[in-house]
């Protein structure tokens, strides 16, 4: 395996058993999903609801057992959650009784980092996402965008090799969403983490990513891989460029099939 490959997914398949009115049936969600992500690459997965995007991300995170296929991160088979991966959740998953600082420090605490060190790293992560003045705020005192910044800071604080982001901006309003996209790119340009980003927004995927995997079908699989030819750092003016719009149209055509 090349050392440039951070994540390798081969022949991944996953089915769930669904019970309806006492009758059980098997619902295949993922079927033969195969792709690789290079180190420091930003890859987005876009697809319609129910195509298995979140199941795929949870499998890579080690939160979901797979029926067939393999997942490797940094050359090691994934058998459960690992310190080299950190997840950013769509609904933020913040502890409602804990302050921003405590929420950011939570991942470090679970990984056995000492109190003084985890507080120092949590403060640094909060500063990185522009929330250094909100260390003592509880989640309900923060806006949606600020809560997700805390979620991102928590993931960054453990210094993972791979950042797994499950529709992190899906529940934000459009204005906050765009500002968070720019914020994420700023952080990514600085740290160059490997990112697997799940979204149902074609524009978001194109704006953020080095590569876009389009998922579709039942069971879900990667039906198209596109590489946006957009120079970095990305700017909003690129969204009206010919390269962006033609790529967007191509993804929509793929999704319509």
């Amino acid at each position: 395996m090349s050392t440039d490959v951070a994540v390798r997914v081969s022949g991944l398949a996953k089915s769930f058993v669904r019970e309806t009115r006492g009758r059980a049936s098997v619902v295949p969600v993922l079927g033969d999903v195969t792709f690789e992500i290079a180190r420091a690459e930003f890859v987005s997965i876009v697809g319609p609801s129910g195509c298995g995007k979140t199941s795929l991300l949870r499998s890579v995170a080690g939160l979901l057992d797979v029926d067939a296929g393999t997942i490797e991160v940094d050359g090691k088979a994934v058998t459960g959650p690992g310190r080299e991966r950190a997840v950013v959740f769509q609904d933020f998953a913040l502890l409602p009784w804990a302050s921003s600082l405590d929420n950011v420090a939570f991942g470090l605490k679970l990984q056995g980092v000492g109190r003084a060190e985890r507080r120092r790293r949590a403060r640094a992560a909060l500063e990185m996402v522009g929330l250094d003045g909100f260390a003592d705020a509880l989640p309900h005192e923060l806006s949606g965008g600020m809560r997700q910044r805390v979620g991102i800071a928590r993931a960054l604080s453990v210094d993972p090799d791979v950042l797994l982001m499950d529709e992190p901006f899906g529940s934000l309003d459009e204005i906050t969403r765009r500002s968070m996209q720019e914020e994420l790119l700023r952080i990514w340009e600085r740290d160059k983490k490997t990112v697997l980003f799940i979204t149902h927004s074609v524009e978001e995927a194109l704006f953020l990513s080095d590569r876009v995997l389009v998922m579709g079908g039942k069971p879900g699989r990667v039906v198209e891989t596109l590489t946006p030819e957009l120079p970095r750092p990305r700017t909003r003016s690129q969204e009206s460029s010919e390269a962006f719009t033609s790529m967007r149209d191509k993804i929509w055509e793929t999704l319509a099939c």
Binding site: G82, P96, L110, Q111
Partner: protein, 280 residues
């Protein structure tokens, strides 16, 4: 003042007025929170006094309010009351402690395991809807007219009401928090310690309040019906002497004790929540 150039907050013109208005409203709310209950209490006391005096001119069945207040003072000053209170409280504290020690772990565990929940939820429903008093003769038969019979009755009264809300709290812990904890390599113990337990605190305290109310009921019922000791004995003796004022006084003190215990539980909950918030 709102101007075309900017809002009131930007110009700062209306801020002192706004703050003064807010402070005035807070002062009125705080005063009302004290004055209104006192006022209602005073009106009730007056109506009680007038009603009791007009009806009988000092009935043995309905004492006047002033007789009642006198009886409260008299009861509080008597050694017998404190001895009876200790007799009742020792059984209450032990019985409720057993209900809590068994109920919280059981509720937490049942809420997190669907199979176990399926096994015990039927029994819990029965325990909640069945009048627990029907078990008292059985307990007396098994344990005899002893201190432990009272403890058992109090525990039986309180247990289901501790378990059921705790189970609901534990079962409704957001799955995203559990997934998040696991994603950071949190062990099962960490999931319980860091997520399930703190997330269930409001439900647990709800269970404690309900359980305490039922345990208190159990304590009074068994002492008034099967085992005439403690506070129950005090009430029975006062009834036998047609001392209505003392019956009212002891009943009032039991109610006051229940309210004080609930307030203590609330303070404990607030303290615990604060402690959780302080950790990192």
């Amino acid at each position: 003042m709102l101007t075309a150039a900017g809002s009131a907050i930007e110009t700062g013109v209306a801020q002192p007025a706004l703050l003064a208005k807010w402070r005035r409203r807070r002062r009125v709310e705080r005063t009302a929170a004290v004055v209104l209950p006192l006022g209602v209490g005073a009106v009730c006391a007056l109506l009680w006094q007038m009603g009791a005096a007009a009806r009988t001119g000092g009935s043995v069945l309905l004492p006047t309010f002033t007789d009642f207040v006198g009886a409260v003072v008299r009861v509080l000053a008597s050694v017998r009351f404190w001895h009876a209170l200790w007799t009742s409280e020792s059984a209450l504290l032990l019985g409720f402690a057993i209900a809590v020690a068994a109920g919280i772990p059981l509720g937490l565990y049942v809420g997190r395991h669907r199979t176990v929940d399926g096994l015990v939820s039927g029994y819990l429903d029965i325990a909640v809807v069945t009048p627990t008093a029907v078990f008292m003769p059985l307990v007396i038969v098994v344990l005899g007219p002893t201190f432990w019979a009272r403890v058992a009755v109090i525990a039986i009264f309180g247990l289901p009401f501790v378990v059921v809300p705790t189970r609901t709290g534990s079962a409704t812990v957001p799955g995203a928090l559990v997934s998040m904890t696991r994603s950071y390599c949190g062990s099962s113990g960490a999931v319980w310690r860091e997520v399930v337990l703190p997330a269930s605190v409001p439900a647990i305290f709800n269970g404690l309040r309900q359980g305490l109310a039922h345990a208190l009921t159990g304590m009074v019922i068994i002492e008034l019906t099967f085992l005439a000791v403690g506070i129950g004995r005090l009430i029975q003796d006062a009834q036998a002497k047609f001392d209505a004022a003392s019956v009212f006084a002891v009943t009032f003190l039991i109610v006051a004790q229940g309210v004080a215990m609930m307030a203590l539980l609330q303070r404990a909950q607030d303290g615990l929540s604060g402690q959780w918030r302080a950790r990192s």
